[in-house]
Amino acid sequence: MKYLFLILSCLLFSAQSSAGQSVEGIITGEDGLGIPGVNILIEGTLIGAASDVDGRYLIEDAPAGTIVLRFSAIGFFDERRTIRLEDLARETVSVTLKEKILLADEVVVSASRREQPALSVPVSISVLSSDDLLRRNTIVLDDALRTVSGVHILGNQINIRGSSGFAYNTGSRVLLMLDGMPLLTPDSDGIPLEALPTTEIERVEVLKGPGSALYGSGALGGVINVVTRDLPDQPTTTIKTFGGLWDPVRHKVWRDGWKHGDEYRPFWGVSASHATRKSPGFGWWTSLTFRRDAGFTALSGRDVFHGFAKTSWRPRPSIKIESLVGIMARQRDNFLFWNSARDVLNPGRVSFGEDASAVDQSPNGAPDDFVRQISFLPVFTHFVNSKVFYEVRLRAFGTLVQPIDDDTQKRKDLSEGTLGARYGGEFQGNWIPNEDRRVVVGFSRDAITTKSSFFVTTDGDALGGQPEVAMFTHIEEQLSSTLQLVGGLRYDHYRIDASKTESRVSPKISLAYEWRPKNLIRVAWGHGFRVPSFAERFTDNREFLPIVRNLELKPERSQSFEVGIRGVSPFGSLGLVSWDASAFWNTYQRFIEPRLVPAEQAFQFVNLGDATIVGAESMLEWRTRSGDVQASVGYTYLSSEEADSGDELPFRPKHHIVSTLEVRLIGSLRAGADFRYTSEPDRVESDFARFVTDAGIMVDTKVLDLRLSAQKGPVKLAILINNALEYHYVDRPALLGEPRRFTFQATWTR
């Protein structure tokens, strides 16, 4: 018995040694009031707590020894405190947090694969907050991306600083990521913007300039990283509904061409989300969204459903397991091009001189399809000690596209559609030997398998794959208190078919000098590349347009150099001003674009010659100290040139301006406006215009969006008028841009 007592005493003593220390305190703002929802974390562990409604917190089971406490909350600057915790001690650490009042102080992760203040990153980056998305009733992400300086959207092709042009949705030069994981469809590498949980987005980071040294192929022109929310400490339920009407277009000759041309066409949607933490170590959020849109042209309606769920589990203080699962189903009429500039509301028809009496003359410019997508992204994080942690990320995407028969409206057989899967994983190790140095190393492997009636691979099958492996490293060195050096290197290796592979090394280096507090000068240089997508390489079909595959297609390459300056300054009693200005010079080799090739007597994706894009970008943001007024304006200038011909690159507008104004009128009533201007491109690519009437017509884009919102308790109401001044423009060749629309939105949050 005495031995049992001794054993029990030892166990009790050792349990108290590891679990008897605690830290408590109160967190206040500069006004002296407690701040709820502040995250307090012991660095190097996953042990932490959140402050309650009075700003008080308590961390139990803290380890003995020297620990660093990090205090962080949205809208406030982080604070750190180092303390020494003796065995069984109970320490009190109270902190006052300073409020952030400018977007420049947001935290980002895309620039260096880790969290850091946006102000200190040595590359150009813009951030859209969840507030930015909420204010604009963002349904599909491109609505909000149009307000980002340097970003121009052509159809749903995203251009960052003119990198993409218009590539007929067959490939993207901007990499879209979800929580740091590449989100690319397995067939066309197009950006699936509709497959994103917009209601659960914490922020969107837009990294401008090549990101291939960190993220590989597809990041040739930049990176967009969508960061989803963490779990809240209190259960939260949000239900949002919206509904609205498309305004009939201005010109009678357009309205008369379509039987519904004089009608106000409806759209509506509903989303519900719930987030909860079942225990300190486990929680989840889920969201479901459905929307229906009748469309503002003939044959452009769509129904979209998507659902997401994110779980977070901490089985031990040093281990975290998260997973994100998403599904999407979409049925749509896919309006590709108009009938003519006098008949913009009807899809056109491409014919090659067939006998009009013998051939169906219905439009073939609006093929319908049904799409299903699924994604699964689990992440495992392990903090080995306060200096070392690693992550293992897995990813799996699946896409199924089924054409819809125009006559019966039934889905066609799978053999006439596209089935694709992309799956893989990544390991990233992080080592922080001291405050002045960070090292990241990692490797990844991905496989792509696609089967489509449109693709013919090298061995004649409709099924093909394009596996890839990569290794990367990234080092940050604080040379002095004001000078930081960042370097990175990535090696990518792709297998194109059984006998052919492609390899690429992408370096990057950047220097950042803080010449005075919150004011940074940066210089960056890097390489980018993009492997041709499956669609670009293997599309071989004469059913619609004659397109032949190109097995000799080479990867695109780029080299980028940028110099910039960023800063924050007080503006007297009127608040604070932040700014960012940069000049960039990008060269590209082997751009992939479709061209009519006489020798093949068909269209084909080919490598063009070299091209250069130079330009400058500037952004100015002002906000009053109270936050009642916020304004920003951004301007981007581009000048491009094809080396062979000296011509401008097609679809690269010279001037792009975005501006925003947000004002609190009275109480919770707020008004806002966004204005964007894009100059008409000097050159429009001509092959498409050979057979689609008036496809060469483009005009300047000038769009003004207005909004009014008010909140009472858990309910927020908003009215939005997009394209308020009813300006008609061309969204992409032979496609009318969105006309004016009116939206009413109601959100309930508890």
Binding site: R250, H251, V253, W254, A341, R342, V344, V350, S351, F352, G353, D355, A356, S357, R542, P546, L596, P598, Q601, A602, S659, F675, Y677, D687, A689, R690, F691, V692, T693, D694, I697, V699, D700, T701, K702, V703, L704, L725, E726, Y727, H728, Y729, V730, L736
Partner: protein, 142 residues
Amino acid sequence: MAVLITACDHGLEPPTDRGAGAIEGSVHYVGDWPPSDELQDLRFVAMRFIPQDTTDFFRLNDMEISVGLSSNVSDDVFSIALAQAGTYFYSGIAQKFDEDLLSWRPIGLYADNGGIFVVRSGETVSISITVDFDNLPVFPPR
């Protein structure tokens, strides 16, 4: 300032309707017809530009095409009821000699007035063409 700029300009507008007229004509064939496997299709084509190579056959927006014509005849007629008003610089009878989409060639050209005629809105233009299989026109034209 932005509001003022946008309020005065409404952007894209429908272009002026150019109107349409009609083209009708006759064709006379001389010489031996090619074998039937080289006669995939036969059309009257009127172009509002001068083609430089076979890829210009894809400039469907800039040409008018009749329905298929008869083969192995000595004479035939053609018509296009709705031809966009404008000037036509290169017109004639075209033969599709292979299954491929771009396998077309001219076999007889409208030669009067330098090969040029004008279609005016609401009016009909009449032309005549001779096809000599022993003396086919050069393509692309010099």
